[in-house]
Symmetry: C2
Subunit: 122 residues, 2 copies
DNA sequence: GCAAGCCATAGACAAACTTCGAAACACCAG
DNA sequence: CTGGTGTTTCGAAGTTTGTCTATGGCTTGC
């Protein structure tokens, strides 16, 4: 099987399909491995702010120059954006001088469903 | 009660109120600090499995002995459960010989709302 | 071609994290 | 009180992570 990727990118497909609701049944080790990467990506305050800045921008995308004001150096911003991309949460596209980052809606939905879970008949 | 906490526990109140939807507006540094702790807590495969095991158990609570089968030593399980508790995601209660961990429903709902966000009219 | 601006990469270092075995603590049954 | 079981705490590797400075690559404008 060719599940050995040359790039450590989590693709939207994998992410969207990884996640049964948390309170549906105990997660398997493999599912937890995939899902934990997404949570870990959002587990840093700087990354969370960057992600929120992109997600709340017009059309769900933003130029790096628009969101670099989070209190850390520019290379650090770039480093965190790369991590978010590797986790499958963001995608980037160069458009002339600037690079635009965009959220992956399906990933957001998958994570939301993971947490919201089924009707909690407790 | 003293308003100065000796324990670094995040209380459900704080957690539930911390989170405007990610794509509503850019997160402030303080909001990101609180929310990132929760995401980081779920950003480890072992913790995610433990949390899922508790959440999917009868009534949303489980004894440690029921969920210790995640492939790491038992002290490590205890360590991770403590982390989840410090992040405000779980609460524990001793009931005779065993210790039961329970999910905080309001926290789950808050994180779900954070990710699901408002209607995405993109 | 050359300078300037935006973004990414490389290398380095301190801090935090995960994990373990050993020991300590808490509770129940005789 | 004593022994046994379940859980937490302690101290210590080894690894990962977050941040910086310095440098390189790419695109635009003159």
């Amino acid at each position: 099987m060719s599940n050995v990727k040359v790039l450590p990118l989590l693709e939207p497909d994998v992410v969207a399909a990884c996640c049964p609701p948390l309170n549906e049944r105990p997660m398997s080790a493999e599912e937890a491995e995939v899902a934990a990467k997404m949570f870990k990506a959002l587990g840093d305050p700087v990354r969370l702010r960057l992600f929120s800045a992109v997600a709340s921008h017009e059309g769900g995308e933003a130029c790096v120059c628009d969101i670099s004001d989070v209190g850390v150096s520019q290379p650090t911003v770039s480093h965190h954006l790369k991590k978010l991309k590797e986790a499958g949460l963001l995608s980037s596209e160069r458009r002339g001088t600037w690079v635009y980052y965009r959220v992956e809606p399906s990933v957001l939905a998958a994570m939301g469903a993971l947490l919201a879970g089924p009707a909690k008949t407790v």
